[in-house]
């Protein structure tokens, strides 16, 4: 069953067709890799689905419900969360605060202004548990602005996961991280995503990671979908090999 579907989704920036009448579907509980060269339209597509951008035309359906015109807030309520290519964190807050904020928001508690945040112990307990699962509990009291790039990447995903999403978009979760740390980060992320039964869409440039961790791959090229299939099918797809992967990597 499809958790998400887009029909004829379109976004132009002037003459540039960032997303051009894209029909895209994500199945429940899969880990899908969205790949393509720079400027292919991957991040634009995710920005449209998550609500950061407004489409020029087309529809976005989440479990059959039209969310095309919904606000970011409503989409999050509906179960969509995301991380960012350039990490977006609350740098002057601790790691624990970063994750706790997602939980407070999810539970509708951020509207409370006459109760001490520290009195909500289950929230902090859950935040600590999430940091533990992401291997970040050791640095929980540090400011988010003071940790390593790899830890920041993990925290970005942890903040999104704390929203308990049904559909999670991960925009280049290993970019800017050393080759050695990439596998560690992806192991942590995919194990949590699979154990929590979160449907994940991962934008990634590293083909080793794409082939190793995804169930299905969608290839974008110049704002359209070039190919869609299992890792084996994509590996054998000549069009993809020619335009994107290159024979050496394939």
């Amino acid at each position: 069953m499809n958790l998400l579907e887009t029909t004829k989704l379109t976004k132009y920036f002037g003459e540039t067709h960032a997303v051009d009448r894209v029909d895209f579907a994500v199945r429940e509980n899969e880990v899908l890799a969205l790949i393509g060269s720079n400027g292919a339209g991957k991040t634009s597509l995710v920005n449209l689905i998550s609500g950061l951008l407004t489409p020029d035309s087309g529809r976005i359906l989440l479990r059959g419900a039209d969310v095309t015109t919904q606000s970011v807030h409503d989409r999050i309520q509906a179960g969509v969360a995301r991380s960012f290519q350039i990490v977006n964190l609350f740098d002057q807050l601790t790691l624990l605060d970063n994750v706790a904020l997602s939980i407070f928001s999810r539970q509708g508690k951020t509207r409370r202004l006459l109760t001490l945040a520290d009195h909500y112990q289950p929230v902090w307990q859950e935040a600590l548990q999430i940091l533990h699962d992401f291997g970040l509990d050791r640095v929980r009291a540090m400011l988010a602005g003071g940790i390593s790039q790899g830890e920041r990447k993990l925290l970005d995903v942890a903040v999104a996961c704390a929203l308990r999403p049904k559909l999670l978009f991960l925009d280049e979760p290993t970019s800017g991280v050393s080759t050695r740390d990439k596998a560690t980060i992806m192991d942590i992320i995919t194990s949590i995503v699979r154990s929590e039964k979160i449907t994940a869409v991962i934008i990634e440039h590293d083909m080793d990671i794409v082939f190793k961790y995804s169930d299905r791959i969608v290839v974008m090229h110049q704002g359209t979908i070039l190919a869609d299939g299992t890792p084996d099918e994509i590996r054998k797809n000549n069009a993809v090999t020619t335009t994107l992967i290159g024979t050496a990597d394939a």
Binding site: L89, D97, L101, D118
Partner: protein, 334 residues
């Protein structure tokens, strides 16, 4: 996710409040320890601290620099003066009630326009709107007294008025000082609660990263508007408390340099620390009093202080003291 039980240390934010208790006790003893003039000067400082606390909810916690807080302060002062002039009210409690309503309405109006923007656009909008209010106070002289302003007599406090044989200075340095002190403590506790609440955390999240805040489900404009409302009402209350002490309100307190003074207070004390604006407001009040008495070019003197402050103490008095304490502790622990 794994279900490993992770130990959780209970944090006690109330502990942070503990060191405020001796300061509060000292403040209680002030009228019996120092001359009335000095007590009144301190009362001015505490009143400005309420305004600076309100202002800093926007700057320090929400990341919005307002150059228009004179509007809320002036609203508080003019509401009191107009209640005296037209309604012949003398009760301080009614003045505060009137100010709460008026500053809430004004903050809602200004906030509705301003919170749609950030950075320089927000600052300029708040500045422009406050200037509108200043020009109204200046031009509608038959209502506001124009540049002459409006006189405000000493109000009744909880029904008690200034006795016929009672000295006004003593009344202000005792009864009125304690009135201000109680409201100051109430405002500090309320603001402390707000900034340590989940709502306060959400404001800090908005300050740090608006995009991420949106994507954890925080409705940015709504939260900014509530922060603006709280900020405006706090500053309005400060204006209402200030005017009986001053005895007169003029359009000067609606003019943009007065907004600049509130900014100055927060920067002087350190807007990253909760107590920064409080310390800054009291210190600024003494500094200004000293500068005015010392030279006719007191604005120039304050300007030099501000430049030196920004260059040498960018984190303000409290921020610098905190850093120094951390360095000393680190060295002692070695």
């Amino acid at each position: 996710m794994s279900t490993v039980a992770v130990p959780f240390e209970v944090r006690s934010p109330v502990k942070n409040l503990a060191w405020w208790v001796p300061i509060a006790l000292l403040l209680v003893a002030v009228p019996y320890a120092i001359p009335p003039y000095q007590t009144i000067l301190l009362a001015y400082g505490l009143i400005m601290a309420i305004a600076a606390l309100g202002f800093n909810l926007l700057l320090g916690y929400t990341g919005l620099l307002s150059f228009g807080h004179s509007a809320f302060f002036g609203t508080g002062a003019y509401v009191v003066a107009l209640m005296v002039k037209y309604l012949h009210v003398q009760s301080m409690e009614l003045f505060i009630l009137g100010t709460l309503v008026a500053s809430f309405i004004l903050s809602l109006l200004f906030g509705f326009v301003c919170v749609r923007y950030t950075r320089i656009f927000f600052s300029i909008l708040t500045l422009a709107l406050s200037q509108v209010l200043w020009s109204l106070a200046y031009k509608f002289y038959w209502v506001t007294g124009g540049s002459d302003g409006l006189r405000v007599p000493t109000p009744t406090l909880l029904g008690r008025s200034l006795g016929s044989d009672e000295d006004k200075v003593t009344y202000l340095a005792h009864g009125y000082y304690y009135y201000v002190l109680v409201l100051f403590v109430a405002c500090v506790l309320l603001m402390w609660l707000i900034v340590h609440s989940p709502f306060g955390k959400a404001l800090q999240a908005i300050r740090d990263n608006e995009t991420r805040a949106r994507f954890v489900g925080i409705q940015i404009r709504k939260y900014r508007l509530v922060a603006f409302l709280v900020s405006g009402v706090f500053t309005g209350i400060a204006g209402a408390l200030w005017v009986p002490l001053n005895g007169l309100t003029t359009p000067d307190i609606l003019y943009w340099p007065f907004s600049g003074e509130i900014v100055f207070m927060a920067v002087l004390g350190g807007f990253h620390a909760f107590s920064g604006p409080i310390v800054g407001a009291v210190a600024f009040n003494y500094l200004k009093t000293f500068a005015v008495g010392y030279t006719t070019y007191w604005q120039g003197l304050l300007g030099v202080v501000l430049v030196v402050l920004v260059l040498l103490l960018p984190s303000g008095i409290v921020g610098t003291l905190t850093q120094l304490t951390a360095i000393i502790r680190k060295r002692l622990s070695k």
